[in-house]
């Protein structure tokens, strides 16, 4: 999966550093009210599926100095994901 490369203003739980990066789904976490709506006192419905996605560090940071197998896992809402 790839995280959409988008840069809206407002309250977003998809960190800047992970936008546009590709990883694999580690698990499905359930569905949650959309924080981008909750932040403005709206109900955030319908709930959004939330996934944990695992990224290779070397795919995120050009000059990553750790080991090849190192990873970072993040929770990404479905509306931020697209097929890689």
């Amino acid at each position: 999966m790839t995280v959409r490369q988008a840069y809206p203003i407002g309250h977003v739980r998809t960190p800047y550093y992970i936008r546009g990066k590709s990883g694999v789904i580690e698990r499905f976490c359930g569905t949650y009210a959309n924080p981008e709506e909750l932040a403005y006192a709206r109900p955030g419905l319908p709930k959004q599926p939330l996934y944990r996605v695992r990224f290779r560090q070397a795919d995120i940071w050009r000059d990553y100095r750790g080991q090849d197998g190192d990873t970072v896992d993040l929770e990404i809402y479905q509306h931020w994901l697209e097929s890689a």
Binding site: Y7, P8, I9, G10, H11, V12, P15, Y16, Y17, I18, P35, L38, A39, Y40, A41, I60, W61
Partner: protein, 105 residues
């Protein structure tokens, strides 16, 4: 023109060595935290409203204010936005609290 990036969204931004700091939380800090927990339990605000208001701070304020100063600011903002309190009553009450303290009471 670079893309918008929130002041709080700092993963991967160059920074210094981690200073292993800690302190025992002061009572007023715990009360701010307790207020947030209670307001959230009662459906009077969400943690995302808290975060949204913290994230709206300017970069200097975000860095210079302490953690619970940012929280109390954001709780007040949210309660005003939701119409739970008015700016006028908040301003008057802060002044009253400060005046009481000046009296030494």
């Amino acid at each position: 023109m670079s893309n918008y990036r929130g002041v709080h969204d700092i993963g991967g931004v160059p920074a210094g060595e981690v200073v292993p700091s800690e302190h025992d939380y002061a009572l007023w800090e715990k009360r701010v935290d307790a207020m947030m927990v209670l307001l959230s339990k009662k459906g009077l605000m969400t943690v995302d409203e808290l975060r949204r208001n913290i994230e709206s701070l300017g970069a200097d304020a975000y860095d210079e204010m302490s953690y619970y100063e940012r929280w109390v600011y954001a709780i007040a903002q949210t309660l005003i936005q939701r119409g739970v309190i008015s700016i006028d009553e908040l301003g008057r009450r802060i002044s009253a609290v400060q005046a009481r303290s000046d009296d030494g009471t």
